[in-house]
C-alpha cells in the first residue's frame, strides 16, 4: 500500500513570455502512493494545473520544465521519448479536464470517441470495440448506454458529458487518474454524483488519483492527503484531517477561513485585521437578525417588488429543417407551436431592505426570472410591480427610457463577460451615470466615479485599466461599482461569486453586505450555493423547473427543509471539517 506510484521532486516550470520568463511552478515536490487520493488545493494562478500538465508533458510550447525529477513507477517522465509518452498517456496516467463539453469532440459520436481510445491503445479491435465502449458507458452509470452510444456531446447535459469523459479516461485501466477541477460548472447535486462515481471506480480498481481543486470542501470529502499550493509553491502538505484541524501555514488558514461552512458567519470569512467597520459592527450577533432591526420601516405596506403569477414560455423550434420557414420572410406558417415553460406561475415579493435568495440548479429558470424582473425579457403572463409602479406592462424594448431603470440594477455572474473589453474601468462605471444620471460636468462625473471606486474598494489607479488588465476580484468590483452607480433600490446578484476564488469570494460577499447597509438596498441573490445564500440572505426561495418549491427564513430552510429536493441540495454541498477555534 505504501508503494509510491509517482514521485515529483523539485519541479520547476517556466513560461517564456514577451516580458521575460515567468516561473509558474517552483520547487514542487510530492508523491502519490498506490491507491490513495491526493488533493492539490490552490486558487487560480497557483500553478496546480501547470504541475499536472508538466507531469503529462503536455505543456504549451512556451512552457519548459527547468529542473526537477518526475518519476512514474520507475519511468523518468522528464526524459522519456515522445513515443513512450504516447503510451503512458491514457494507458498509465489519464486526465479529466475542467470543461467536459470542451474536452469531447463535438462532431463525433461519444461512443466512437470511446472506441478511438480503446483501439489507439490496442485494447480492442473493430469487432469488439463497440461492445467494450457500451460496457464502459454502463460502468459510468449512463442510462441506456446502447442508445447513448450514438449521441453527440451537445445532446447530453454537462454531467453526462463529464461521465463520458470519465469513461474515456478510465477506458485503458490507468493506474493514476488526474482530475483537474472535474466538477467546476456543474450543479452541486451533479458534482456529488460524479465525484462519488469517480471515487467508487478508483477504489474498486485500486487506482491512485490526483484531485486538483480550489474547493476545500471537495478536498476534505474525497482526498486522503492534500498539498496546498500558493503562487507555484507548495506551502503545506499532509493528511487531510490534520490539514484542516491544525493548519500551519497562514495561507492554508486563510483559505479554510474563507470557505463558508454550515455555521460560519460572513465576517468570519475574512482575516480579523481586514474586517471593516461595518461588518465588525455586526460581529457577535447573527447578521440577518441585526438587519431586521436596522431595516427601515416600509414606506407603505406594499413590498418593494411584488410579482404575481409570472410565466415565461419559449417556443420550441422544430428540429427538422424546413424549407418553407426560410422562404416566408419572418411569417411562420400557422401551426400549433410547442412551448417550453421556463418560468411557471411564479409569485414572490421582496420587502424594502430585504435580502432574498433564489436557489436552484441550472436550467430551473432563475436567470429567466431575473431577466424578466430586470426588464431585459418580456414575460408571457403575469404582473411585476416595483416600488408601487407596474413595470411588467412596459415592453423590455422601451424600458431603457423608464425613470425606474436606474432603480433596478444587476451584478452579473461572469465578471469578465460583463465588462466591455474596449472600456476602461472608469468608462464602464461612468456609462450608466452618463446615460441616466444627472451629472453634467466631467469633473463631477470623475468625482462620482472615484467615490464609487472608494465604496467598492477599488484602487483609483486601476480605474484607467482595461478589463484584461484586472484580476477577477477587481473586475467583480468594477461590475458592482457600475451596478450601484445610480443608487438602485433593488440589486439582483446573479451568482456574483461563482467565477471567483474562495478568498476573493469572501471579500466580495463582505463588500456586498457592507454596501447594502450603507446604501440601503434590497438584494435578490441568485445562486446554486446554499452556503453562500445563507450568509447573505434573510429569506430564501428554492426553485425547481420554473416553480418555487419552498420558501422561508434562511435559517429555517437550511436546518429543517420541508421538501426532499431542498434536502438533497443541502446534503450535496461538500463541507470542510469545522475549524477548531484557536
Amino acid at each position: 500500500m505504501d508503494q509510491k506510484i509517482l514521485e515529483i521532486d523539485n519541479l520547476t516550470v517556466e513560461f517564456m513570455t514577451r516580458n521575460g520568463s515567468v516561473t509558474a511552478v517552483e520547487n514542487v515536490s510530492f508523491a502519490v502512493k498506490k491507491g490513495e487520493t491526493l488533493g492539490v488545493i490552490g486558487e487560480s494562478g497557483s500553478g496546480k494545473s501547470v504541475t499536472s500538465l508538466a507531469l503529462m508533458r503536455i505543456l504549451d510550447t512556451n512552457g519548459k520544465i527547468l529542473s526537477g525529477e518526475l518519476v512514474y513507477s520507475g519511468v523518468d517522465l522528464k526524459r522519456a521519448s515522445n513515443a513512450a509518452m504516447y503510451d503512458i498517456r491514457g494507458r498509465e496516467i489519464s486526465m479529466i479536464f475542467q470543461n467536459p463539453r470542451g474536452s469531447l469532440n463535438p462532431v463525433r459520436k461519444i461512443g466512437k470517441q470511446l472506441e478511438d481510445v480503446l483501439c489507439q491503445h490496442g485494447l480492442a479491435n473493430k469487432y469488439n470495440a463497440r461492445k467494450k465502449a457500451i460496457d464502459l458507458l454502463a460502468t459510468v452509470k449512463i442510462e441506456n448506454p446502447t442508445a447513448r452510444f450514438n449521441a453527440y456531446p451537445h445532446e447530453l447535459s454537462g454531467g453526462m458529458c463529464q461521465r463520458v469523459v470519465i469513461a474515456i479516461a478510465l477506458a485503458c485501466q490507468p493506474r493514476l487518474l488526474i482530475a483537474d477541477e472535474p466538477t467546476t460548472g456543474l450543479d452541486v447535486t451533479t458534482q456529488k454524483v460524479i465525484l462519488d462515481l469517480v471515487k467508487d471506480l478508483t477504489t474498486e480498481r485500486g487506482m491512485s488519483m490526483i484531485l486538483i481543486t480550489h474547493d476545500l470542501g471537495l478536498a476534505a470529502n474525497y482526498c486522503d492527503r492534500a498539498i496546498v499550493m500558493e503562487q507555484g509553491k507548495v506551502v503545506e502538505s499532509g493528511c487531510i484531517k490534520n490539514l484542516f484541524l491544525n493548519p500551519n501555514h497562514p495561507y492554508t488558514k486563510k483559505l479554510i477561513r474563507a470557505t463558508p461552512n454550515k455555521s460560519s458567519q460572513l465576517n468570519q470569512l475574512l482575516p480579523s485585521e481586514s474586517r471593516s467597520s461595518c461588518t465588525s459592527y455586526l460581529e457577535g450577533s447573527h447578521q440577518s437578525a441585526s438587519f431586521n432591526h436596522k431595516r427601515r420601516e416600509p414606506k407603505n405596506q406594499r413590498p418593494l417588488l411584488y410579482i404575481d403569477r409570472l410565466t415565461k414560455e419559449f417556443p420550441i423550434r422544430n428540429q427538422i429543417f424546413r424549407l418553407p420557414s426560410l422562404m416566408s420572410f419572418g411569417k411562420r406558417p400557422k401551426e400549433v407551436q410547442q412551448v417550453f415553460r421556463a418560468v411557471d406561475n411564479l409569485s414572490m415579493k421582496i420587502n424594502y431592505g430585504e435580502s432574498v435568495g433564489l436557489v436552484g440548479e441550472s436550467g430551473c429558470g432563475k436567470s429567466t426570472t431575473s431577466a424578466m424582473i430586470m426588464r431585459l425579457v418580456d414575460s408571457t403572463e403575469g404582473w411585476i410591480e416595483f416600488d408601487g409602479t407596474d413595470i411588467g406592462s412596459v415592453p423590455a424594448k422601451h424600458f431603457a427610457r423608464s425613470p425606474i431603470r436606474s432603480k433596478l440594477q444587476m451584478v452579473f455572474q461572469d465578471p469578465t463577460d460583463c465588462l466591455n473589453p474596449r472600456f476602461t474601468a472608469r468608462q464602464s462605471i461612468s456609462d450608466p451615470i452618463i446615460v441616466l444620471g444627472s451629472l453634467n460636468s466631467k469633473r463631477s462625473l470623475d468625482k462620482r466615479v472615484d467615490h464609487l471606486a472608494d465604496l467598492v474598494g477599488l484602487p483609483k489607479k486601476l480605474l484607467e485599466r482595461f478589463p484584461h488588465q484586472l484580476s477577477g476580484g477587481q473586475k467583480a468590483r468594477v461590475g458592482i461599482a457600475r451596478a450601484i452607480a445610480l443608487d438602485p433600490k433593488l440589486l439582483i446578484l446573479d451568482e456574483p461569486t461563482a467565477a471567483l476564488d474562495v478568498s476573493v469570494q469572501a471579500v466580495v460577499l463582505n463588500l456586498l453586505q457592507e454596501l447594502k447597509c450603507e446604501l440601503d438596498m434590497s438584494y435578490l441573490f441568485i445562486s446554486h450555493d446554499l452556503n453562500v445564500v445563507r450568509l447573505l440572505c434573510d429569506r430564501v426561495m428554492v426553485m425547481q423547473s420554473g416553480r418555487i418549491l419552498e420558501e422561508g427564513e434562511t435559517g429555517k430552510v437550511m436546518v429543517e427543509p420541508a421538501q426532499s429536493y431542498t434536502r438533497d441540495l443541502i446534503n450535496a454541498i461538500p463541507h470542510p471539517p469545522e475549524l477548531v477555534p484557536q
Partner: protein
C-alpha cells in the same frame, strides 16, 4: 457606530474633492498633448515588438509620402513626350527608362501613386462604412432586414466579382468615380458579413445586458458598446481589401475601363508596357508592376499591425 458609518462617505468626498482639484490644475491642452504622446508611444511599442509590422508601416508611410509629395519630387513632367527619348532603357538620367512616347517611367510611377491610393482608399472607405452599417444592423436586430440584406449580399457574391465591376463601370460610364463605386460595391459583402457575425456573437454578451441596464437605447448599445468591439477583425479586412482594391482598379484600367490614357496609372502602364515585353523593353511594364505589387504587399502586411493597434487587449 452608526455615526462613523455615515461620516465615512463625507470624509471620502473631501478627499476626492481635493484630488480632483489637483488633477484639474493640469490644463486641458497639456492633457491632450499627453494623450497623443501616450498613443504615439503605444504605436511605437506595437511596431517595435514586431519587425514585419515595422516594415509594413515604413512602406505605408513611404507610399503616402509619395502620393502627397509626388508632383514636387518627380524629375520630369509625367505627361511630357519626347520622340528623341522614346524607349530608352534605365539609365542615370532616366532611372526606370522611358516609354514609347519618351515619357519618364519613374515620374509616371510616382505620380500614379496618388490616383491609385485615392481610388482604393475611397472605395474601401465607402464599402467599410456601408457594409459594416448593414452588417451591424442585420446582426443586432435580425428579422426581415437580416434576411433581405443577407440575400442581397449573397446575390452580389454570386457574381464573379471582377466581371461585376466591369459590368458596373461599363453601365455607369467610363470615369474614375465609377471605378470607385464599382470597387466599393464588390467589396461591400465582405464587410457586411464580418460585421454581422461579429455583432451577432456579442449580442447576448454580459456587457451588452449591462449596457441595457445602464439605460442605453438599442442604438447606443450597438453604436458605442458592440460596434467598437468589432473593429479589430474589420481592420484586418480593410487592409487586405486595400490591396484588392488597388489590384481591382489597376485591373479595370488594364482592360481599358476607367482611367484613360494619358493619365499615369499603374494598371494602364502595365497594359501599355505589356506590348513591348516581347521586343525586349521590359522596364515599361516591370516598374509599375513592382509598384503595384509593393503596394498590395504593404497593405496585406499592414492588416495585422492595424489590428494590434486597435485592439486594447494588446496593451499590457
Amino acid at each position: 457606530m452608526t455615526v462613523i458609518i455615515n461620516s465615512k462617505p463625507a470624509i471620502k468626498e473631501v478627499v476626492a474633492d481635493l484630488e480632483s482639484r489637483s488633477a484639474s490644475e493640469t490644463t486641458g491642452s497639456s492633457r491632450i498633448a499627453h494623450s497623443i504622446r501616450k498613443q504615439g508611444s503605444y504605436i511605437w511599442y506595437i511596431l517595435s515588438s514586431n519587425s514585419v509590422s515595422l516594415i509594413a508601416f515604413t512602406l505605408f508611410i513611404l507610399l503616402v509620402l509619395l502620393a502627397i509629395l509626388g508632383p514636387l519630387i518627380v524629375p520630369y513632367n509625367p505627361l511630357a513626350t519626347s520622340a528623341v527619348d522614346a524607349l530608352k532603357s534605365p539609365s542615370w538620367s532616366h532611372w526606370f527608362g522611358t516609354d514609347q512616347l519618351g515619357r519618364d517611367v519613374l515620374s509616371r510611377v510616382i505620380i500614379a501613386t496618388r490616383l491609385d491610393l485615392l481610388i482604393s482608399v475611397t472605395a474601401v472607405a465607402i464599402s467599410f462604412v456601408f457594409g459594416s452599417l448593414i452588417g451591424a444592423v442585420a446582426g443586432y436586430f435580425g428579422g426581415w432586414f437580416d434576411k433581405v440584406s443577407g440575400r442581397f449580399i449573397d446575390t452580389i457574391m454570386a457574381f464573379p466579382l471582377f466581371v461585376l465591376a466591369m459590368g458596373i463601370v461599363a453601365a455607369l460610364g467610363n470615369t474614375v468615380e465609377n471605378i470607385v463605386y464599382a470597387t466599393a460595391i464588390i467589396n461591400l459583402p465582405f464587410y457586411a458579413r464580418v460585421a454581422r457575425a461579429e455583432v451577432n456573437i456579442r449580442r447576448d454578451a454580459g456587457f451588452v445586458h449591462a449596457a441595457k441596464l445602464s439605460g442605453n437605447s438599442d442604438f447606443r448599445v450597438l453604436a458605442f458598446h458592440i460596434y467598437p468591439n468589432t473593429l479589430p477583425p474589420m481592420m484586418v479586412q480593410a487592409s487586405l481589401n486595400m490591396g484588392w482594391a488597388i489590384l481591382n482598379a489597376a485591373g479595370l484600367s488594364f482592360i481599358g475601363l476607367g482611367v484613360r490614357p494619358p493619365t499615369a496609372e499603374w494598371g494602364i502602364m502595365v497594359a501599355e508596357g505589356a506590348n513591348f515585353i516581347v521586343s525586349g523593353e521590359w522596364w515599361l511594364a516591370f516598374f509599375p508592376g513592382i509598384a503595384l505589387m509593393l503596394a498590395v504587399f504593404t497593405f496585406n502586411l499592414l492588416g495585422d499591425c492595424l489590428r494590434d493597434i486597435v485592439d486594447p487587449r494588446q496593451r499590457t
